[in-house]
Symmetry: C2
Subunit: 508 residues, 2 copies
């Protein structure tokens, strides 16, 4: 607590001068400079409470892959929404993990959709330099004070920052400029297998239809402060490919002594042989028949967007961030970024067979598993790609392998001229951070539930601030920035307030 | 304790009638029928102590792969030797895990070499129906009372049974008919990387040179009671093949988000591609250049031995034991057994990359590992095969992969006309179990340390009794047999006594 209160006192000193100036400037979004100043004051006053709200949430992880805190996480999410001023809040059961539906009626003519995930990625305690559930505040040279914890940037950090904006508006006695409809899920990290069940419930669908679009809070700044808008995202299929002696009808049905290999087939070799048919010898091109037939090439405009983004993000920074010395196929940077946006993939997330401990163990395993994720681009679909994968395995003689799809969805795209995206652009510009745009992110989110039928809404991400380490150890977000180009949590909170006003102003 | 003492009281009832008759018959090995009876009585009297000695040993596992009880295991082994009557006993340091050297001078003209391993294979507690370190006595239909525990058959069970023979001889006040030289190691299960250091110490080598050959206590009976002599064993190389972004110079040097696959190479795919070059598409033939060039084909005599062994072991029993429905390449049984004896292999013991927990995790791993074991046949050598593997990987474009050899040795062979083997045959016959012979076992043991230069001694395994589950859960040995064809622990103890006399008689 002391650290956090001290942090609040240091606010005026720490916030970057350029950021402060941008924050205080009136954007003409129906928020006068004096209003901005009072909201910023409220945000500073509640800083410790906002950080603690995030730390408490981080301390209570929901992890669908592990069945951890799934019911409880939904309740927690519902409480957070209620506390932030949503009048109607309910936990929504699904055939998997429950979600949350909440509405905040501000009496405004415009309604904005909001997408939250309350689950986080798994973590391995021993890989972290600071405990992943403690959300410790630690100094980080070049950035300021960061909060380290699972979900710090993906996605509890930005979501808690947005909630802080709602609390601040209440603290200064102002109504929101837009109504809100929130849908939240607890299975984003396993491919959102039941999210459509939530959104497609008739009353929720009706509420969503009234929105001008949907956004997810996010930290859109890069390490140098540059802001990037992604106009879509790849789709994904997460699956396990499982080779067993039992299904194969060859090799052992239980692990046996490895000396028997000379007389016995191996399900592990069978998996290796199946895997290698899926990609080119360099591991980079998918060999599944018809995989690319629905892949749309990038338009010249999309390529231009990518080139502009590449110029704004130095190659050396990107390579450092990704722990790389070469791009795929030895491509030059810009082409690598085009490939990143445009190409579907099959990636190995994990391999598990037989003995996995230290040293060796002379067994011939009866079971071998590859954990794969396939990234899809327009106009591929999950159903199409899954069917093609199965057909191809069959054709290549690996029809016995189990293809256990655990989650996934189609790619998503949003028009850059839509209300949401234009409000994002205007807000970022007003904050002194004119954004670059990329046609789509290489990562995935279930935006297609909004952008696809029956809703056909624009959907994207918005938010200032910087964080990194999603899915990795030492995930963090910058809470108090000493870097003039990077927004801390409080400045990012105000950015959400301004974004809401921009959405209202633009649409009014 | 109660269970074991009750067990001792039941001896006369439980022991198979046929086995008893065979045990009591004089084999003309310098052991009169009345001596046999008194030794058998001593064995029965010490039954509870013998079982407890084995249980205590099992409760104290040495596992080199895990660095578990390595120093302590050697001391324990030394104490066991001292208690059994070895006059000179010492722990022998190596550059790895220490071994034990012990001699028992009985004033006999003949000296026999003895090889023990005091280490055991790793185990996974949750896979066992009875705790692997408790050595519980449980009934097993068709066999009698079995002892379940790690090492029960591989190799503490047979070794403890042999030690019981030495205790019994002392109990009846008789000197052994042969002198003994014992060498023991604690790294058998990781490929005996330092065993030659023990045997080649000048004084130990000198002691070994005086022996007529070396044997390891073993349970040579199959589940139907048939006895098999193996005249040799394959060699082995245990190794890890490791693909990393760091060594490759491509792909990430730390795990990164899996969405980046479209722009980044994958060390896991690199490993899969390297692996699949090692074997034919069915996973069964080694493709490494020159792998087979020193492989000796089986002689007609060797094939005849295999055929006789196959006839003695019904195919259905073998398939059941190995959890199989088809032999490799759909070979008929006898040919599968020929392939088992004659062909070298590369087997996948384990695969480990990236995320290995439940469900998925969207990462692109920076490191992927295959744990392999290569089985070698005469005249392949470990050095030759290792070099060929490395050269081949280099040629195929995978020279960056680490080849971490953790252990291994050359194949071993012993002449069937040697003293040891002939004594084995004669003893088994005298016990009513004329043996079959196979030219070599598919499994491996470091016999080449004895059969190769500079010792060039015959070396093999001897012992009655049945056990199974080596390297697997629920490993057991039959302690008290209700099956007339199978020797229990006490009958097997007397079989060692008779074997020692046969070695002395034959050579005297």
């Amino acid at each position: 607590m002391t650290d956090m209160e001290a942090g609040a006192d240091r606010r005026e000193v720490l916030v970057g001068a350029a950021a402060t100036a941008a924050l205080l400037a009136s954007g003409g979004f129906g928020l006068a400079a004096e209003d901005v100043a009072s909201v910023l004051k409220a945000i500073a006053a509640q800083h410790a409470a906002s950080v603690k709200r995030l730390q408490d949430w981080i301390a209570f992880p929901s992890i669908a892959a592990e069945g951890r805190n799934t019911q409880e996480g939904a309740k927690y999410m519902a409480e957070l929404a209620k506390d932030a001023g949503f009048q109607h809040v309910e936990v929504v059961p699904t055939s998997g993990v429950p979600g949350v539906f909440a509405t905040l009626d501000a009496g405004a003519p415009i309604t904005l959709g909001l997408y939250f995930m309350y689950d986080v990625k798994q973590f391995d305690l021993k890989e972290w330099s600071s405990p992943p559930l403690e959300g410790k505040l630690v100094p980080k040279p070049g950035f300021g004070t960061i909060l380290v914890g699972r979900g710090a940037t993906n996605q509890k950090g930005p979501e808690a920052t947005f909630l802080a904006a709602l609390h601040a508006m209440r603290a200064v006695g102002r109504k929101l400029p837009v109504n809100l409809v929130l849908v939240a899920e607890g299975e984003e990290e396993i491919g959102s297998p039941h999210f459509a069940e939530i959104v497609h419930r008739p009353d929720i669908l009706a509420a969503m239809k009234k929105t001008v679009g949907v956004f997810m809070p996010s930290q859109s700044q890069g390490p140098t402060g540059s802001v990037e808008i992604t106009l879509g995202a790849k789709g994904i299929i997460e699956l396990e490919l499982v080779s067993t002696g039992k299904r194969w009808g060859r090799g052992p049905t239980q692990d046996i002594h490895s000396s028997l290999k000379a007389a016995v087939d191996s399900p592990a070799w069978h998996l290796v042989e199946a895997l290698q048919t899926l990609v080119s010898p360099d591991g980079n091109k998918v060999m599944v028949d018809g995989w690319y037939e629905n892949v749309l090439p990038l338009t010249q405009h999309q390529k231009d967007l990518i080139a502009a983004t590449a110029r704004a993000n130095p190659e050396a920074d990107m390579m450092k961030q990704f722990h790389l010395s070469h791009w795929i196929d030895d491509l030059p940077y810009e082409q690598a970024m085009e490939r990143l946006a445009s190409q579907p993939t099959i990636n190995i997330e994990g391999l598990v067979a037989g003995y996995t401990g230290p040293g060796g163990k002379t067994i011939l395993p009866a079971r071998a598993v590859a954990k794969l994720d396939c990234r899809l681009v327009p106009n591929q679909t999950r159903a199409e790609a899954t069917a093609k994968l199965k057909t191809y395995l069959q054709k290549k003689g690996f029809g016995d392998l189990e293809v256990n799809v655990t989650g996934g969805y189609d790619p998503t795209e949003t028009d850059e001229n839509s209300t949401i995206i234009q409000a994002e652009v205007a807000t970022y510009k007003a904050l002194g951070h004119p954004p670059t745009m990329i046609p789509r992110g290489a990562g995935s989110w279930p935006g297609v539930v909004f952008t696809g039928p029956p809703l056909n809404l624009p959907a994207g991400h918005f938010g200032m601030g910087f964080g990194t380490g999603a899915h990795a150890p030492d995930e963090f977000l910058v809470v108090e920035s000493t870097n003039p180009a990077i927004f801390g949590m409080d400045e990012s909170t105000l950015a959400y307030v301004r974004f809401l006003h921009r959405v209202a102003g633009r649409s009014a």
